[in-house]
C-alpha cells in the first residue's frame, strides 16, 4: 500500500465506513451524526447536514442511508440503551456519545445493563457494541465538555476501553472494537482530530489490550494515555539531552491495560511515570501505579509518579486550562525526585 496521510478524524471516518461495508449488522446511532433528518431539501439531495458535531461521521449517511446512520433525539439513555438491546439481539451498534461528559445521562445502560448482562444471564448474552465518544481538555469547552472519563468507564467489569493517540491506531482500534463481542468504549481526544499521519487504505485492526513501546530506553519508563503520549515524548526528548534514556509506552488500551508490557519495561528501567489527563483519584494512572508498585516492588529504584489533572473541574479560561493539563514541565517537576539522580 502507498503511504497516505489522513487526519485522526478521517481515519475514524474511514474505519466506520470499512466496518459498515464489511458487516451489515454494524449500524451507527447518535445525535446529529448525520444531521438534517427529515429536512426536505437535504433529503432530496441525500445530504447530511453535519456528520457529527466535529464532522467525524460526515458522508456516512449519504453512503449507507438513514437506516444505518441513525440520527437520534437528545435521549442518551434511550439510544444508548437501544444500542444495548440491539447488540443483545444480534446487531453490532456503534452509538456515539457526543462528549464523554454526557455519560451521566446514560450511565445505567452501561453500568447496570450492558456490562452486566452476560454475567447475570450466565454467559448467554453478548453485547458487541462500540461506544464512540470524546474526552479531553484543551478546546476551551469548559467544565461540562472537557472531562476525561475513560478510566472510570474502564473500571466497570465487562467494559473495555481504548484511547488512540494517532490516526493509525484510531482506525485500527476502532475496527478491532467493532469486531469485539464486548462493550468497547472508543474514546477520542477532541484536540487530536486535526492530527495527520500515515493510515493504510486497507482494513486492518490494532490489537486491544496491547500497549505500544514508542521509544525504547533503559533509564526510566513513561506510560502515557492518548494525547499524553506527546507530553511523554517531549519529556523523553528533553531528558535525552541530560543523558537520560527514556522508554515511552503508549498504553493504547485503558481497560484491560497491558500489565505485561508495562511490568516488563519497569523491570528493565526501575523507574516509572504515568501520565493521565483524568482527575487524580482512582484513575488509570493510580491503578497502574498500584499494580506496578506491588508486582515490580523489588525492581523499583524510586517511587512511581502519577502526573494527572488536578482535583478540579476543567476551568474555562485558557490560561487556567493550560495549567490544568499535564505538560512536560509539570512532569519534570512532579517527578523530579526520580529523575534527578538519573541525570548524568
Amino acid at each position: 500500500m502507498m503511504s497516505r496521510r489522513l487526519t485522526f478524524m478521517k481515519a475514524i471516518n474511514e474505519g466506520l465506513e470499512q466496518a459498515m461495508e464489511k458487516d451489515d449488522r454494524v449500524i451507527l446511532l447518535g445525535e446529529d451524526i448525520a444531521g438534517g433528518a427529515d429536512v426536505k431539501h437535504l433529503e432530496e439531495k441525500n445530504e447530511d447536514a453535519w456528520g457529527g458535531v466535529f464532522g467525524v461521521t460526515k458522508g456516512l449517511m449519504p453512503k449507507f442511508g438513514r437506516e444505518r446512520v441513525i440520527d437520534t433525539p437528545i435521549s442518551e439513555m434511550g439510544y444508548m440503551g437501544a444500542a444495548v438491546g440491539a447488540a443483545a439481539t444480534g446487531l453490532r451498534p456503534v452509538p456515539e456519545l457526543m462528549f464523554n461528559d454526557f455519560i451521566g445521562f446514560c450511565f445505567d445502560t452501561i453500568l447496570a445493563q450492558g456490562s452486566k448482562m452476560r454475567y447475570m444471564f450466565g454467559g448467554k448474552a453478548k453485547i458487541p457494541m462500540t461506544i464512540r465518544t470524546c474526552h479531553g481538555a484543551g478546546a476551551s469547552a469548559a467544565a461540562q465538555h472537557s472531562g476525561s472519563y475513560y478510566g472510570m468507564l474502564g473500571a466497570i467489569p465487562g467494559v473495555k476501553v481504548v484511547v488512540p493517540s494517532n490516526p493509525y491506531d484510531a482506525k485500527g482500534l476502532l475496527l478491532a472494537a467493532i469486531e469485539d463481542d464486548n462493550i468497547v468504549v472508543f474514546s477520542e481526544d477532541k484536540t487530536l482530530y486535526g492530527m495527520k499521519d500515515e493510515v493504510p487504505e486497507e482494513y486492518y485492526t490494532v490489537e486491544i489490550g496491547k500497549a505500544k513501546i514508542k521509544r525504547e530506553g533503559t533509564d526510566l519508563t513513561i506510560v502515557a494515555i492518548g494525547k499524553m503520549l506527546y507530553v511523554a515524548l517531549e519529556v523523553a526528548d528533553r531528558l535525552a539531552k541530560d543523558g537520560v534514556d527514556v522508554e515511552v509506552i503508549d498504553l493504547v488500551t485503558v481497560a484491560p491495560w497491558d500489565e505485561q508490557t508495562v511490568l516488563h519495561s519497569v523491570k528493565k528501567t526501575g523507574r516509572l511515570i504515568v501520565i493521565d489527563e483524568a482527575n487524580p483519584h482512582n484513575n488509570t494512572a493510580t491503578d497502574i501505579a498500584s499494580v506496578v508498585s506491588d508486582k515490580a516492588f523489588d525492581y523499583l529504584d524510586g517511587p512511581v509518579k502519577c502526573v494527572c489533572a488536578p482535583n478540579t473541574p476543567v476551568p474555562f479560561a485558557t490560561n487556567l486550562e493550560q495549567l490544568y493539563l499535564p505538560n512536560a514541565d509539570r512532569v519534570l517537576k512532579e517527578a523530579a525526585e526520580i529523575i534527578e539522580d538519573l541525570k548524568k
Binding site: M77, A86, M117, F121
Partner: protein, 322 residues
C-alpha cells in the same frame, strides 16, 4: 389477530396456573429461608403476561421487570431452570449467577428480568430497532409497572419507538402501587395510557384481570406493530396478590372499599369460568391442567433443591465474551 382457539385456551390456562403455582410455592419456600435475596411475586397479574405472550413466538422479544417470573413463564422459559435460578443453583437458567431479578433466556426471546425499574424501555427499543432493521416481522414487548412510568427511560424509550415507528408494544402493568407508593400520588396523569398522546401513539386501557380483554387488546397492538404501524401503549389495570416483595407488611393496601374489591377479583378463576362457558375448556380439561401444573412446579422445586451450587470458578466466568 388469532382468535382464542381451544388449543390457545389450554396454553393460556396452563400458563396462568403455572405462574400462580410457581409464585405461591416460592412464597411458601421463601419463609423457610431456602431462597435467598429479594423476591417480587407476580401472583394476581397472570392475565397480563399470559394474554400478551399468547401472541408471541420465540422470535419475538420481551423485556421484563423485577417482578419477572410471570413474564418468563409466559415467554416459555423452562420452569426447572427458573426455579433453580431462584435457588442460586448451577442448573439455573443463568447458572445461578442472576437470581430472581435477572432471569433471562435470550434463545426464548426473553431479554431478562431487570432489577432497574425502567431499565427495560431502551432495551426493548433496541430489540425493536433490530427487528425493523433486519426486516423481520418480529415484535418486542416491554412490560413495565405504573411506577416505572415516571422514569426518564419511559419518556425517551417510547418517543424513540414512536419517531422510528418501531414494532414495540409497551405493556403497562398498573397494579396501583410502586412499592408502597400509589400511582395516583406519583403520576401527574390520571392513567398511564393518557401519556401515549405525548408520543403520538395509541394509548389503551384494559382490565388487566380479564384475560380475554388483555388478549384482544394485546393482539391488536401486536398486529399493529407487526404490520409496520408502530408502537402502542397498552395499560392493563391489575393488583398484586402479595406484597411488593416477600416480607412486605402491605400497610398501604386499602382495608376495604373499591380497591379492596378489585383486589379480590381473581383472573384465573374468571378465565376458567369464561373458557368453560365458551366451550374452550371442559371442566375435566381444566382439572387436568391444574394438576399437571402443580406437578410441573413440584418437579421444578425438586429439581432446584437437588441441583448443585455453582462451581467456585464460575465467579470469574462470563464477564467478557471470548
Amino acid at each position: 389477530m388469532e382468535k382464542l382457539t381451544k388449543d390457545k385456551a389450554k396454553w393460556v390456562y396452563k400458563t396462568m396456573n403455572d405462574i400462580r403455582n410457581f409464585e405461591n410455592e416460592v412464597h411458601n419456600i421463601f419463609t423457610t429461608g431456602e431462597i435467598p435475596g429479594f423476591v417480587h411475586l407476580y401472583a394476581g397479574e397472570e392475565a397480563i403476561a399470559t394474554g400478551v405472550c399468547a401472541h408471541l413466538t420465540d422470535n419475538d422479544y420481551i423485556t421484563s421487570t423485577h417482578r419477572g417470573h410471570g413474564h418468563c413463564i409466559a415467554k416459555g422459559c423452562d420452569l426447572d431452570g427458573m426455579m433453580a435460578e431462584i435457588y442460586g443453583k448451577e442448573t439455573g437458567l443463568c447458572k445461578g449467577k442472576g437470581g430472581s431479578m435477572h432471569i433471562a433466556d435470550i434463545d426464548k426471546g426473553m431479554l431478562g428480568a431487570n432489577g432497574m425499574v425502567g431499565g427495560g424501555f431502551p432495551i426493548a427499543v433496541g430489540a425493536g430497532l433490530r427487528n425493523k432493521y433486519l426486516k423481520t416481522k418480529d415484535v418486542a414487548v416491554c412490560f413495565f409497572g405504573d411506577g416505572a412510568a415516571n422514569e426518564g427511560t419511559f419518556h425517551e424509550g417510547i418517543n424513540l419507538a414512536s419517531i422510528w415507528n418501531l414494532p414495540v408494544v409497551f405493556v403497562n402493568e398498573n397494579n396501583f402501587f410502586a412499592e408502597a407508593t400509589p400511582q395516583w400520588y406519583s403520576s401527574g396523569s390520571k392513567t398511564i395510557a393518557d401519556r401515549a398522546a405525548a408520543y403520538g401513539i395509541p394509548g389503551v386501557t384494559v382490565d388487566g384481570k380479564d384475560l380475554v380483554a388483555v388478549y384482544e387488546a394485546a393482539g391488536e397492538a401486536i398486529d399493529r406493530a407487526r404490520s409496520g404501524k408502530g408502537p402502542t401503549l397498552l395499560e392493563c389495570v391489575t393488583y398484586r396478590n402479595y406484597g411488593h416483595f416477600e416480607g412486605d407488611e402491605q400497610k398501604y393496601k386499602a382495608p376495604s372499599g373499591k380497591e379492596k374489591e378489585e383486589a379480590n377479583r381473581d383472573c384465573i378463576s374468571q378465565f376458567r369460568d369464561y373458557a368453560i362457558e365458551h366451550q374452550l375448556l371442559t371442566n375435566k380439561e381444566a382439572e387436568e391442567i391444574e394438576s399437571q401444573s402443580m406437578a410441573d412446579i413440584e418437579h421444578a422445586i425438586k429439581f432446584a433443591e437437588e441441583s448443585p451450587v455453582p462451581r467456585p470458578e464460575a465467579l470469574f466466568e462470563d464477564v467478557y465474551a471470548n
